[in-house]
């Protein structure tokens, strides 16, 4: 099936099999391997992307569903110049990354939150990342990092 959508600000035009998952389109066809596959059944959040402003599990979503949508993956966060997104900076500064497997999904969930609520409190952050599992960090530093990125938002 043919579909067109916007990915990380650029127009994409591709043909995909009807049963292809959005996750496989992004990783295998488009080569954007920042998005990870963990459980493949909606439970770990490693595959989280943003579609029309909402965080979703790309492992549960057929690629066809991206038709006409605006999509963001972790690759869309930093600028072309290489300048990191405030969330990425905050994760580095707080040491919120260990093995890093959960990080792209975690950051996408956090971005969806900050985009609608620029200065979230701890509870709101915990809720926003409740669908993202981290086996390494124990979450405290992740919550701190998102808080820090939020505090940098002066327009909140």
């Amino acid at each position: 099936m043919h579909l067109e959508f916007i990915c990380n600000g650029k127009k994409v035009s591709v043909d995909v099999p009807a049963d292809m998952r959005a996750l496989d389109l992004i990783r295998d066809v488009m080569g954007l391997t920042g998005t990870k596959e963990g459980c493949a059944r909606g439970e770990c959040g490693a595959c989280t992307i943003i579609v029309n402003g909402k965080a979703v599990n790309s492992c549960l979503m057929y690629a066809v569903k991206l038709k006409g949508k605006e999509v963001f993956t972790i690759e869309g966060l930093s600028e072309e110049s290489g300048k990191l997104h405030p969330l990425q900076e905050a994760f580095l500064e707080e040491g919120a990354v260990q093995c890093g497997f959960c990080t792209p999904g975690m950051i996408m969930s956090a971005k969806a939150l900050l985009d609608r609520n620029p200065r979230p409190n701890e509870e709101e952050i915990e809720e926003a990342i409740s669908g993202n599992i981290c086996r390494c960090t124990g979450y405290a530093k992740i919550v701190k990092a998102v808080t820090r990125a939020g505090l940098g938002n002066n327009h909140g």
Partner: protein, 280 residues
């Protein structure tokens, strides 16, 4: 497999009545897992998640109408829905699941532990089922006929859920245990809607439990026992026994039936207490 995206409800209805082995898909959060596990293998998926006719929450003709393709997240963010339904919707999955999963999918998937089911039974929810030749209404409590089985025919689409506006009066509460995940313990849930007087005497009440019988269950005898009476400890004991008679939980790897019975009674008492607050 083929994937079709109709633009109108009429087109969708024509597709499912003319194509063999076609299956409706809304958010796909239940369906995609079932297909990946080869539990079902439809030849055609008909995607109804974008149909305007199935979207939105509005008041019309004395009813609150909830479109079947309304996402769980939209239910959570609504300010006009009764409390127990918002509580039930909030307890579903993760933000990512709530952003794509729909109300219609939660109902039609017919899992005995679906978290919008008991709230909607407590609120007297009515389903509107449409085919290319007919439109009918079914009470949610009559919709389920077994685990994963409903009266919805292959050529029908659930278009909306109606709640009589009377249910916006009164108060309601939802309680659940055992969030769905790899390590679930049990998934009992309870919803209660009621109206009561100042000294806790119950005027009207509807109550439902999920996961303790093959289908979500309305607790009719419990409702009868509570109606017209003031809630106090002795009455609660009596009601606990009635709950035990009405439910039929199973024992499995996750929990024994005895455990599920105790949990159900506790959840029921908690939900009742929450719903009663505010009438005192």
């Amino acid at each position: 497999m083929n994937y079709l995206i109709p633009e109108t409800l009429d087109q969708a209805l024509r597709l499912i009545s003319s194509q063999r082995n076609a299956k409706l898909i809304a958010g796909g959060t239940d369906l995609s897992v079932q297909i990946a596990d080869s539990l079902i293998s439809p030849e055609i998926l008909v995607d109804i998640s974008g149909l305007e006719e199935l979207k939105g929450i509005e008041e019309k003709n004395g009813f609150l109408s909830l479109g079947a393709a309304t996402t769980i997240d939209e239910l959570v963010s609504s300010s006009i829905l009764p409390h127990c339904l918002v509580q039930g919707a909030k307890s579903i999955g993760s933000p990512q699941i709530r952003n794509i999963g729909t109300l219609g999918g939660n109902i039609c998937n017919a899992s005995p532990c679906g978290d919008t089911l008991t709230p909607l039974i407590a609120l007297g929810g009515i389903l509107v089922l449409v085919s290319s030749s007919a439109r009918r209404k079914v009470r949610l409590e009559d919709f389920f006929i077994g685990p994963k089985m409903t009266v919805c025919a292959d050529n029908e689409i659930l278009t909306e859920v109606l709640i009589e506006k009377d249910y916006l009066q009164g108060r309601s509460a939802f309680r659940m245990t055992g969030k769905r995940s790899g390590q679930v313990i049990s998934q009992v849930n309870v919803a209660i809607w009621l109206e009561a007087g100042k000294s806790r005497e119950i005027e009207k009440i509807r109550a439902a439990v999920g996961s303790v019988a093959p289908v979500p269950l309305r607790l009719k005898r419990v409702e009868q026992a509570l109606k017209g009476r003031a809630v106090h400890e002795r009455l609660l004991k009596e009601v606990s026994e009635l709950i035990n008679e009405e439910i039929k939980p199973i024992s499995d790897v996750r929990a024994t039936d005895d455990y599920r019975r105790r949990v159900t009674v506790t959840l029921f008492r908690d939900a009742l207490e929450e719903a009663l607050q505010g009438f005192n």
